[in-house]
Symmetry: C2
Subunit: 326 residues, 2 copies
Amino acid sequence: MPPVDDQRWVVAAAALAERARPLSRPNPGVGAIVLKEGRVVGRGWTRFGGRPHAEAMALEKAGSAAHGATLYVTLEPCMHRSARGPACADLVVEAGLARVVVGMCDPDPRTAGAGLATLAESGVEVAQMGLQASRLSLSGHEMFQRHGRPHVTLKLALTLDGRLAMPDGSSRWITGPEARAHVHRERARADAILVGGETLRSDTPSLDVRLQGLEDRSPERWVLTRGPAPGGWKVLASPERAHSMPGVRYLFIEGGAGAAASFLRADMVDRLLIYRAPILLGDGRPALGDIGLTDLNDAHDRWRREDIRPLGRDTLEVYIRSRQEG
Amino acid sequence: MPPVDDQRWVVAAAALAERARPLSRPNPGVGAIVLKEGRVVGRGWTRFGGRPHAEAMALEKAGSAAHGATLYVTLEPCMHRSARGPACADLVVEAGLARVVVGMCDPDPRTAGAGLATLAESGVEVAQMGLQASRLSLSGHEMFQRHGRPHVTLKLALTLDGRLAMPDGSSRWITGPEARAHVHRERARADAILVGGETLRSDTPSLDVRLQGLEDRSPERWVLTRGPAPGGWKVLASPERAHSMPGVRYLFIEGGAGAAASFLRADMVDRLLIYRAPILLGDGRPALGDIGLTDLNDAHDRWRREDIRPLGRDTLEVYIRSRQEG
């Protein structure tokens, strides 16, 4: 089978993994597909609370058809032998799979290549794709394993000229209903949402998920402040303290300009979601405060365009922080 | 022939018309195609200084093949019988064309429907498409005929957060080489370029066209100021005075924020060209000054997205001013 098909099946598994996010927390949301003679015989994704794992679900669906089949999975099968379930690498060997194609190696030190090694030693053919689609679908897991903090998305709803509100602070509405619905979907994919102290005091945002069927996905609410917080809100004293947000793998920053700038100054924004309205304000509140930039040259080569697409009358712009690390 | 093919041939004629811009000034840059039994037998576009007209060139190429053929032309054939050449409507009748499809009626009162009427009275089948592609390619002509002023494009080179320079004014470079080359191409399509007085004093921009083969397309240079101007620069005292810029059909505003805001306050910007760099500045110089907006609701429904596309590492965003007029 040519590699291009391998890639497409891993991308399909990454799409399945979206079903696990964020319900699998704090475990990574993984997707898995079992393919036998060109036919899908099993599909799986990490379930609520992290178990069963995606491979276990896909192999159970496949049953005896798994014998001699190929498993496509976004993350290296785990080697965690625990009371909560068998290690996936063991399950794969037992199921008699001929081949396993993984999107990325697991940075979790309990696996970190040991899963692939176990498979190879047992005679299973293994391939590791290093695919962007896998990495994006597991960005919260990778960030936590490598740097001990959540993956951070900064949302900005801006005009063409980069304003987020009128001079008096009014911002209802900059963006249209499609963009606002998309924000609710993005909230539903996060473990926690954060706003700045001033935004909390002036806007009292509810930050819940108002999408039919997803109301129970509303994430934890955090406020960036050195002071106290009202009931139902947790306090983050500084961006650096995000290293101790229990169970939070995906953090979604809703604003305002001060909180956004704080996280950018700390270089702790990994993804920008800009909802761009086709309007000009001229005078108005700027998108950001001081982000610590002193030389224009330093502003370059930090953000990579991931997606740009129409969203009703607005445009969604997605940028990913470029970092040198593998 | 189904209308969808008619549309495609008019769009093709509009692409040809691009060759006439801005060399045909002050005449409109028109494109024409003669189609005989599915084959192109003649093509034309308005020549330097406005003559010959596109139809005359296309019909001359077609020769006797024009008999019984269809003419696709972006603008209604003219009825100007002058010493500089015959009226195109007369030429079309003489050539024995069976059918004429025009992109738009000519708002010039000397024609304004009289060209199509002459054709119809002579037994030529006529169709008028009202196509956006024609209107865009003739926007300078339409604006001058309807409102007596040039069509105005405002160029902005901005960051994701809407900054056009660092706090100290430095802006080399916000955008990359592809975007800057595209600006030179857009300059070559304009009759005149304008900057604000402060930009002229602080940046001393040359504003010439530095593209191989197009160096002689460098447009007139104007400065928006109430004071005097250096040699080689013409003075515009206010946006409203653009009604008296001799022969200028396409005006390209290069900046800065003050000149841009002046034209927006006067509602005299028809097209926005935003070159968006994938960088954040935080603090910095804003894209625009006060544009006279007092209510957020009034900002909406003014700009229609015409195009968004990658340009090297940057993104080109094109917006057209939505106006109620036909």
